[in-house]
Amino acid sequence: MATVDHATHPPVAHQSSRVDARTLGMFLFIASEIMLFGSFFTIYFFVRVAAGTAWPTPPYQLPVFVAGMNTIILVTSSFTMHWALQSIKRGNRAGLQAGLVLTFLLGLSFLLTQILEYSRIGFTPHTNAFGSVFFGLTGLHGAHVFVGLTILLAATIRAFRGHYTEESHHGVEIPGIYWHFVDVMWIVVYTTVYIL
């Protein structure tokens, strides 16, 4: 008598070490991002602390209030992202779709506001070291937001095409992790560049 026993889930991932592959992958990702942002923050440290450059260099001013509003927008987008994933986990497709659309729109608002801020800020990366560091750090983060928006757009389109279920929603979970990471990095950038 033959037995039929086949899994309905993906096979166990290949593991070349005793560390869980997903954990290892995320560690490597975090490590690479920390090194990337860390190199930019090192420049920031040397320009602002070691070289003693005035921050911001007079006569320029940083739009702290606008950036603060942008921070609220971005942190809110993390709540809508979380809501989207919780919705699909409960089988609420409308909640998933609304959550993803709101997250995308909030992220887009953040990026457009930042572009508008760039156009009116009065200095450029060529102005001085302060300008280079400011545009380098905020620009690097903006690039991450752009990548996040691209991933979110794909997830949103898939959500409207009927993909994802209560059991299978990796395509929302992974963009969610990335989006929260991008938000955390903005909190660091905003605090160090605009506030302190």
């Binding site: 037995t3 039929v4 290949h14 954990t23 992202m81 938000d183 660091v188 605090t191």
Partner: protein, 215 residues
């Protein structure tokens, strides 16, 4: 070490923690630079202590290697096939290899997908198709009296073999492909690469589905 970005829920909590952490430092720093430094030191120390304690609670990773079961003289045959999984030559070969009644057969049906869908993590349709092929194959083997189990595997056949070997310690592997000229796997050197990569005998079975349909 606890990973704060292991799941969306943990990442969201990490974000909330970061908001509180940096807000406290920023508020204290705006009031007085030394107060900001003090808050930074206290909060960082608290985070390190919490992290250290969480690390102690973290369960140890479990080895992914499966311990083969069954009797000593049992032969374990791993079958990897794409669309040819239900082909007559393959079923005949498996039946032949398992004819002594001491063989355990495990069939892996890779979830073949287009590169674009693979990049978009859109593999539901590919997995469903692979599952359907697997079901038909297992049913056909059952009809021939072969004890078989199976699973849908990774879209990359070599990865699918490697994944399966970790849960099914095979003594030999059977790879089924279309004939030369029509086989994407042969063009990519899947059989040759598998022989280099895996230290178990590998049998190659060619299934001509067009000929089967016409005959």
């Amino acid at each position: 070490m606890p990973n704060p970005l292991r799941s969306e829920g943990e990442a969201f909590r990490f974000l909330l923690g970061a908001v509180v952490y940096f807000a406290a430092i920023a508020i204290a720093g705006v009031i007085n630079a030394w107060a900001g430094l003090a808050v930074f030191i206290v909060l960082t120390a608290a985070v390190v202590v919490w992290w250290w304690r969480a690390q102690a609670r973290e369960p140890r990773p479990v080895s992914a290697m499966a311990v083969p079961g069954g009797s000593a003289d049992e032969r374990r045959i791993l079958v990897v096939a794409n669309e040819t999984v239900g082909g007559a030559p393959l079923l005949e070969r498996i039946t032949e290899l398992a004819s002594d009644g001491k063989a355990r057969v495990f069939v892996v049906s890779p979830a073949l997908n287009s590169p674009l869908r693979h990049l978009a993590s859109d593999e539901d349709a590919a997995r469903a198709a692979a599952q359907d092929r697997l079901d038909r194959s297992l049913s056909a083997l059952a009809t021939n009296g072969v004890h078989a189990r199976g699973q849908v595997g990774d879209g990359d056949p070599l990865q699918a073999i490697e994944d399966a070997l970790r849960t099914f310690g095979a003594d030999e592997i059977v790879i089924s492909t279309h004939p030369e000229g029509r086989s994407n796997w042969l063009e990519r050197g899947v059989v040759a690469n598998a022989r280099e990569r895996f230290a178990v005998p590998i049998h190659h079975v060619v299934v001509d589905l067009d000929r089967e349909r016409t005959s």
